[in-house]
Amino acid sequence: MSAAPQEGGSGSPGRPATAAQRGSATRLGWVPAFVSIALTLAVMAATGSAPGALIAGIAAALLASRGLRTGPRSALIGIVLAAVVDAPFAYSSFNLTQIVVLAIGAWGLVILGGQTGQISVAQGPFVGVGAYTTAVLSARFGVPLLATIPVGVVAGAIAGLLIGIPSSRLRGIYQVITTLAVAVSFPTLLLAIGDPVGGSTGIAVPEPFQTMQVGSVDLDSTQLMYFFAVACALVVWVALSRIIWSRHGTAMRAVRQNEIVAAVNGISVSHYRIASFVLSAACAGLAGSLSAMSVGAVSPDSFGMLYSIQFLVAVAVGGADSLMGGLLGAVAVFLLTTSFSGIPVGGIQVSNEVVYGLVIILALVLLKGGIWGALTGVFESRWLKRAVQMH
């Protein structure tokens, strides 16, 4: 993680930074984050008060970044991590885990759509491949759950390769139709395989964690699962943002903007299109393994077309070209699809799907670049821009 502050400097072209600035940020940039996490957890363990722990964490991040002159980016990371660490004590950690799962899957689409400009409706099935890998290995073969995660990632990547080789050759609407067909066939394929994958009832997955006592706070299984998912998400975030700001990221964006110009400049268009498909599906595989572990069951109907659309909506509403957009979109999609069961209007209970559909349409029509695009555009604040170092 200590390498992450470099990504804005060395990786992104046209944004020079003096060696002195970079040097101090590289050496001390993550200190406020660690201080903030440590203090949040300490206050939580000592007092058991979630708001108090959050305030302590934020104060620690601000003070530490000011004292060490590490800049706004490191303060923001500290504040966000304090909130992330504190959240499961204030909200349902099961729900928070589902948001993390959605975000990891949506980040796959940020690579696929935001970087190389492809559209895939097959993200749901790729998540399903990861989830079923974890479920089958743990329930049928007794493999420890944590050991199934890398297998789930690899299985997702292989599925992405198989689907990506034909569908990355197609453009626009043709690619949408092909991947949509994958999304619709996946549940029926599971039914056709039948008994080995549990048929229409699916498979139950054992509990991943035992309850743990830390200070005066009991961490239950779902809270530990949440922290584990967050750790995975952090690894994915750092890895993906390093890829985005590497020369490979530049190549992928060149492919999105103009394939012919990219090819003329020596970029293998088809390789990057397939590679981004595989990377995206690997993210989905990880999301699937985590989803199976946290939900405790997999069933064929959960990984069809509507699930795929959730990931697409997340990047469309949040902002397709940045990881931050994928994260905000995941939060929005989760709240829209689960947090209420309808709005009463004049005696009729309006289904939340209506609200979901309207929000999608309005976000696309009104916000350029999704929520994140609107935020960075409206505030136009150097603080926020420098803090995140993204467009």
């Binding site: 759509g113 400009g117 559209i119 034909p166 569908s167 050759r169 197609l170 453009r171 626009g172 609407i173 043709y174 690619q175 949408v176 139709i177 092909t178 949509l180 067909a181 994958v182 619709v184 066939s185 029926t188 394929l189 039914l191 056709a192 394939e259 268009v269 077309m305 659309i309 697409l312 909506v313 469309a316 397709a320 309808g342 009729i348 209970q349 309006v350 289904s351 939340n352 799907e353 209506v354 609200v355 979901y356 559909g357 309207l358 999608i360 349409i361 696309l364 029509v365």
Partner: protein
Amino acid sequence: MLLLQDVVSAFGAGAVYALVALSLVIVFRATGVINFAAGEIATFTTFVAWELLADIGLGFWLTLAIVMVFSAFVGVLVYVFIMHPALDKPEFVIVMLTFGLFELFNGLSNTFWDPSPRSFPAPVEGPPIVIGSIFITQESIVDVAIALLVMVLLMAVFRFTKLGLGFRATTDNRFAAEVVGIRPWQMYAAGWAMATAMGGVAGMMLANMLALSASMMGNVLVFALVAVIIGGLESPLGAVVGGLLIAVVAGVFSSLSFIGTDLATPLMLVIVIIVLLVRPSGLFGQRKAGLL
């Protein structure tokens, strides 16, 4: 003989697929949009039809006419207020808008009508006709007849009316059409109206075959998309042939014991991918499709 029975039985479903596929082609030719919400809009208008038939007690044919007009109106609203302002946006935005419409109309169906499946009246009642050892229900004959009638009517509108001429001119060359005084948005709205009207008809036929429920169109849309890919996205004739073909293939696949119903849909996917890679413009298309 069993195989022949499957083929004949498939024609009822084929008529529905052909109608939905045709509506997709018309919208695509006009505005370059694949309307992924076509099935859900049709489901919504079919619920309205059910309301007219069951609650108000109108006759079947009158309901069909009213629903066609109502569906066309919905199509114009959707086009004018949502799709038209977005036509010059990136493809991703347009695709996501139709998915948004998908959720919106599915939600509307779920809001006003409870989700349990309900039976839907047939256009005609009567014993099935028996030819040799093959059974043909009277409904399926009427279904195919309605579908054919709607298609012929549509072709006639395209070929012989001023509206059809304007529509063809606009899809052929938008700027030339504007120069001679055609307003493109009116033509595009007319295309959407015709497409959703056809969807309304397809919805009523399908509701009779399966049962009316909010999710009845899910598979139909996929089959229609497969039909459109096989026939060619630009070709109305291809959509009709593709729709019938896909119904027959699906019917035969399902009846073969080593494939079964579960594997029929994944096999469709294989067909789509092969067609797109080998002949991306489809059987009846001319223009080179998205393959680079």
